[in-house]
Amino acid sequence: MLAASVVEGILRRVTTRDRATAIVGDLVEIREQKGAVWFWFSAAGVLLSLVWRWPLAFVASFYAGAWSFAAFLMATVGINAQHIPEDHPWAQVLWGIVLLGSCAIALSVYAGIRYGLRDRATQMVVAWASLATAVVYLWWVPAVLVTCIAGAAAVVLYSVCAREGRRASVVVWAAMAVGVCGFFVWAPLATLYQNWLKPGPWGSDDMLQHPSLGRLVFSLMLFGQLAKLWVWSWLRDWLAGTRRAEARSEML
C-alpha cells in the first residue's frame, strides 16, 4: 500500500488528483494478477507518458526562440542584412515583428510538441510565426509583403469571427504579451548589470572576464521562457476545461 501511495503522490504532481487516484487504483487492481514488478514498470511507464512532452517542449522551444531571435536580428541589422537604415520609417515596425516573430516561433515549437499540430492555438501561432518569418526575410519584395498582409488579415478575421479562433487567439496573444514584456524586463536589467560591471562597449575578452553577465542573461531568459509557457499552458487548459463543461451541459 505504501508503494501505491508513493506512486499516487508522484502522479498528482503531473496530472489531476482524480486522474492520479484512478490510475493508481487501476494499477493496484491489476497488481494482484501481474505482481509488483509489473506494477512498478507500469507506474514508471505512465509517469513517462504523462511528462515526456513537457521537458522536451521546454528545451526545444527555448533554443528555437533564442536561435530565431539571433537569426532575425542578423537578417535585419546584421552584417549580411539587406537592411534598412535606423531612420527608415518602418524600422521600428520591422524590429517589433522580429521580437514577436521569435516569440511566436518559440511558442510554435512548444505547442507543437506538447499539444500537437491539430490544436487550434498551435495552428494559429504557427501561422503568425510563418508570416513574421516571411516578412523579416523578404520584406522588400512587394508580392510577399502583400501576401503576408492578406494572410494576417485572414488570421485576424478568423480570430474574431470563429469561436475556436477567439479561444485560440486569447492563448496566443496572452503568451506573446508575456514573452514581449519579459524581453523588456530582462534586456534593460542585463544592460544595467553590464554597465555596472564595465561601462562602454564590450569585447569578447570582457565576456570572458565577467562570466556572471552570461549567467544572468541566461537565467533571465529562462525565467521569461517559463512565464510565457506557463501562461500558454494554463490558459489553454482552462479554456479546454470550459469547453468540456459546455459540451457536458449541452449533452445534459
Binding site: 484512478a22 487504483g25 487501476d26 493496484v28 487492481e29 511507464g45 509517469l47 507518458s49 457536458r248 449533452m251
Partner: protein, 116 residues
C-alpha cells in the same frame, strides 16, 4: 455542426471497447476488453494518454465512480463515448468499409492473392 474529427487506429479501438463495455468502462476493463478482442495488451501509459486526449477532444467523457477494496479504496474513473465520439467512429468505420468494398479480404477469390 462542426467538422468531424479524424481518429487514429488505437483511438478507434478504445472507443469501440468503451461502447462494448457500456456502463462498466474504466481503465482495467477497457484494457482487458482490448486484450481479449485484439490480442494486444496496450500499455497503461498509452491507454491513459489516449483517454485523456480523447476527453480533451470531446470524444469521451469521464466521471469518478465507486471505490472498491481491491483497488486500495481508490475510486474508478468511468468513461462513456459522447455524441461527437460516436460520430467520429461511424465516420472512420464508413471509410474503412468503403475501402474494403470489393476486396473480399475475409475469404473468396482475392483472399489468397492478398494473403500471399
Amino acid at each position: 455542426m462542426g467538422r468531424i474529427a479524424s481518429l487514429g487506429e488505437f483511438e478507434q479501438i478504445v472507443l469501440l471497447a468503451i461502447l462494448r463495455l457500456d456502463t462498466d468502462a474504466y481503465g482495467v476493463s477497457i484494457r482487458s476488453e482490448i486484450t481479449a478482442r485484439t490480442g494486444r495488451a496496450p500499455s497503461p501509459g498509452a491507454l491513459y494518454t489516449t483517454l485523456d486526449r480523447m476527453e480533451e477532444k470531446g470524444m469521451v467523457r469521464s466521471w469518478m465512480g465507486e471505490a472498491t477494496p481491491q483497488r486500495g479504496g481508490r475510486a474508478k474513473r468511468n468513461f462513456a463515448v459522447t455524441k461527437a465520439g460516436r460520430s467520429a467512429l461511424v465516420h472512420a468505420q464508413r471509410a474503412y468499409q468503403s475501402l474494403l468494398e470489393g476486396l473480399n479480404l475475409l475469404g473468396g477469390a482475392h483472399a489468397g492473392s492478398i494473403g500471399g
